[in-house]
């Protein structure tokens, strides 16, 4: 009964979305207030209906209703409740329903919080959102219906992939989708602006909160995925340049460029066509990611079950959305009024450089991910593009990006002098060089690329802090004065400093873990001790442990430092009985400066067990840093200027007589 209600809600939602996608557009071009107001009502209704549908599917999972085919394929009665719930989106159909849910929720959010938008803009944005929703709902209803029934209902399900039965991975998709779908709102804003024929400072101010929100969630989603890979896959790696990871990185890069480009539109009424293009691209890359994961054109450890028919549908949808957007762009963007002029050396120039470099990074990732496909189709030759390629092409471009990142905030708008800006950063430069030298000598006495990269991380941190200190006149004015300035600092600037500094920490963590980790692999029998990185590690015992839906072999290792007991680690190998798959549970001990990381391997015939020990310096900084980047974004989002007093469009001031 309830699954049918859910199914029916989806059908109704599709109908509402069709209405929402057409009539408000008509109303906007005709100036018909009633039609435009329809957009708001429809958005709220659509959200309500999709919530119903999602609730119905969740209910089916929670009650283990095995008459629903989706539940049978992906759930099991013995699964813990939290994984029953996260199992709702741990499969293709359910995750598409989650997309549709978040899409409709964002539409409702625009309807509710967009009261300060002009009617024409808001109705157009809601209409575009709805049209995207039509695509997803149609995809759901026609090719990926989560509410299909099975008759007769089997006694139990096939269980959820054991890899997904993990808190980190349970929340990774919702955060990612919040990011992807958030960019659909900025896409809608861009299309609406192109339809209106006007991109101005007010538009940029209205778009900013949505861009920030999407970007923050996407950052968190990617960080969570990376952290999960780190503690599950068992050897301390955190980024593998797998196609699905790249599919989430590309919209992030475009979104970061969009965020910064929109600032120029807001402050200087310039870079308009860039910003509109980036808004279209960010969402298009999100859709491209969805296509790559679900169509079967690429192999990946992460990909869902492949289905070319679904692939064609998503491709058609991608073409409609991206092609339509880019066609509109090609037609209307040249007509946008050019804005303020500026010199190459200026804040605008720095932000253009930022745009260029981020887009180059995105293009590198895109090319690397898709090239095997292109080459295979054209010539039949097979090549692989893996981490060594990206390390050689992606990482070097980060260098000028990081270098410019700290200089940009010191440059003035319209035109600026480069040398004074660089002089203000001389302390940061010196500290970074010293840090690089110290790092290279502390590790192995050679100047390595890793030490240089480490220096860049320090540059990011010190450079951002120096800029903030300058803003507060720290050290040059009385302390009370600096405090006053701190209170008066707009949250957006605070957010920028937090995010840029946090990025530095991410770089430090990534460099240290990748280049300077220690590892030891040993076959140990119970009672044996090894020495590793100053610790004495003793394997005490290996025993069998039963979990809710698995049997595990658990090793207990006592770690001592200087003879004194330090901690106990218990890595496991879990065998999930229903799926007959094994997942390793690593044991990690962190003191926030390094991770001590142990995995249990196979046992041999003599009672020995393969134990792998790793010391990952600064690894926690990667994810703490990423979380702080998102925090910076949220701080920026809380800026009062974005909520109240959003500028209304004032006529140009009369020139003085």
């Amino acid at each position: 009964m309830i699954p049918e209600l859910g199914h029916f809600s989806l059908i109704l939602a599709l109908a509402v979305a069709l209405v929402q996608g057409t009539l408000p557009l008509l109303g906007a071009s005709r100036g018909d207030a009633r039609l435009m107001a329809l957009g708001r009502t429809a958005a709220l209704t659509q959200a309500f209906l999709v919530i119903l549908a999602f609730g119905a599917l969740t209910q089916a999972y929670v009650t283990s209703d095995f008459s629903v085919a989706n539940v049978v394929a992906n759930s099991h009665s013995a699964k813990p409740l939290i994984y029953k719930i996260s199992g709702v989106w741990g499969n293709h159909e359910g995750s598409m329903l989650l997309w549709a849910l978040i899409l409709s929720l964002f539409g409702a959010a625009v309807a509710i919080f967009g009261a300060n938008l002009p009617d024409t803009l808001r109705s157009r944005v809601l209409a575009i959102q709805a049209l995207i929703g039509v695509g997803f709902l149609a995809f759901l209803l026609f090719t990926s219906n989560p509410f299909e029934r099975l008759s007769p209902a089997p006694p139990d399900g096939n269980g959820l992939n054991p890899l997904l039965q993990d808190p980190g991975l349970a929340f990774h998709p919702p955060l990612l989708y919040l990011g992807y779908v958030g960019f659909s709102v900025t896409y809608a804003f861009a299309i609406a602006a192109l339809l209106e024929g006007r991109v101005d400072a007010a538009w940029a101010r209205w778009v900013r909160p949505w861009t920030l929100a999407a970007w923050c969630f996407l950052t968190l989603g990617i960080a969570l995925g990376s952290w999960w890979a780190y503690y599950i896959l068992g050897w301390g790696g955190f980024w593998f340049w797998d196609p699905v990871e790249n599919a989430s990185l590309m919209p992030w890069l475009a979104g970061t460029a969009l965020l910064h480009s929109a600032i120029v539109v807001e402050k200087r009424d310039s870079l308009k066509s860039w910003t509109v293009l980036l808004a279209i691209l960010a969402f298009s890359l999100s859709l491209l990611g969805t296509f790559l994961v679900r169509s079967g054109v690429l192999t990946s450890v992460h990909a869902f079950a492949q289905d070319p028919a679904r692939g064609m549908f998503i491709l058609a949808f991608l073409l409609a959305v991206t092609g339509g957007g880019l066609a509109l762009y090609a037609w209307r963007a040249p007509k946008l009024m050019p804005g303020g002029l500026f010199q190459p050396i200026s804040r605008e120039g720095a932000l253009i450089l930022n745009n260029l470099l981020l887009c180059t990074l995105a293009a590198t990732v895109l090319l690397g991910t898709l090239y095997p496909l292109f080459l295979d189709l054209l010539t039949g030759n097979k090549v692989s593009v893996g981490p060594p390629f990206f390390n050689a092409t992606f990482v070097p471009i980060c260098a000028p990006l990081f270098a410019a990142l700290c200089v940009g905030p010191f440059l003035g708008w319209k035109r600026a002098e480069l040398w004074p800006a660089l002089m203000q950063l001389r302390v940061a430069f010196i500290v970074s060089v010293i840090a690089a030298i110290v790092a290279s000598y502390a590790v192995d006495g050679r100047a390595t690329l890793a030490a240089i990269a480490f220096g860049f991380g320090v540059w990011l941190i010190v450079g951002s802090l120096v800029e903030f200190a300058g803003r507060l006149r720290l050290g040059r004015a009385p302390f009370a004065d600096s405090l006053r300035r701190l209170k008066a600092t707009p949250r957006a600037s605070l957010g920028m400093t937090i995010a840029h500094t946090a990025l530095g920490f991410v770089v430090l963590g990534a460099v240290a873990t990748s280049a300077w980790h220690l590892e030891l692999m040993h076959t140990m029998k119970p009672g044996e001790t090894v020495t590793f990185a100053g610790y004495q590690v003793t394997l005490q015992k290996v025993e069998e442990v039963k979990g809710a839906n698995y049997i595990a072999e658990r090793a207990t290792l006592a770690v001592a430092y200087d003879g004194r007991p330090y901690t106990t680690m218990q890595p496991e190998r879990r065998l999930f009985l229903v799926q007959r798959r094994q997942v390793a549970e690593t044991a990690i001990h962190t003191n926030l400066l390094r991770d001590f990381y142990v995995t249990l391997g196979e046992g041999d015939a003599n009672g020995g067990w393969v134990i792998r020990l790793y010391l990952n310096p600064l690894a926690p900084w990667i994810w703490l840093g990423a979380a702080c980047c998102a925090l910076g974004g949220f701080v920026s989002l809380s800026d009062r200027r974005l909520r109240i007093g959003a500028p209304s469009r004032r006529p140009v001031a009369q020139p003085a007589e």
Partner: protein, 178 residues
């Protein structure tokens, strides 16, 4: 039960660092090279993993072959050539730099160069047209400016003096935006 787990484990283990203690070479320098090479060779039966990370049989064979070639005195390049002769370019995680992969390696940097130079050229063209730099004032305008500055107040509500000399000497055309 333990044996069943072990058996199932053999068939269904997940990838992790899969190099076994028994495979490790005695010479640490050779082993380090074997690891570097292993990270750059693709496991041909897995999805996007290097042979060092895969527990597949073929990956094990390849790791062993790498170490045998290294012990026999091959250079890193020769080991890669050995693998490519058997599995093709597909087995290299770093695609070779040849005519077929020029676009791959050079595409993005080329794009950056083209876009960057196009923007710089456009900026220079604008500069040459004199649009970016402010026009100098005519004598009449300069006289009017001096007049205004001599009498204008900074903040009408507070009585401060006229604007400072230095600002007058900037010679800017008065603008009408805020």
């Amino acid at each position: 039960m333990r044996r069943a787990i072990a058996l199932l484990a053999l068939l269904f283990t997940l990838p992790a660092l899969a190099v076994e203690p028994s495979e490790v070479l005695a010479d640490p320098a050779l082993e380090a090279r074997a690891r570097t090479i292993g990270q750059a060779l693709r496991c041909v039966v897995c999805q996007n993993q290097s042979i060092d990370d895969s527990a597949a049989e073929v990956a094990h064979d390849m790791r062993r072959a790498v170490r045998e070639r290294l012990t026999a005195g091959d250079s890193n390049d020769q080991v890669f050539a050995f693998m490519v002769a058997r599995y093709g370019d597909y087995v290299l995680l770093k695609p070779p730099f040849k005519t077929g992969t020029l676009v791959l390696w050079l595409g993005a940097p080329l794009l950056l160069l083209l876009a960057g130079s196009a923007l710089l050229l456009a900026a220079r063209r604008r500069q040459r047209a004199g649009l970016a730099a402010p026009q100098p004032l005519s004598d009449e305008e300069r006289r009017r400016l001096d007049e205004l500055l001599a009498t204008a107040r900074c903040h009408p509500e507070r009585s401060e003096g006229p604007l400072r000399q230095s600002e007058r000497s900037l010679g800017l055309r008065p603008r009408d935006d805020s």
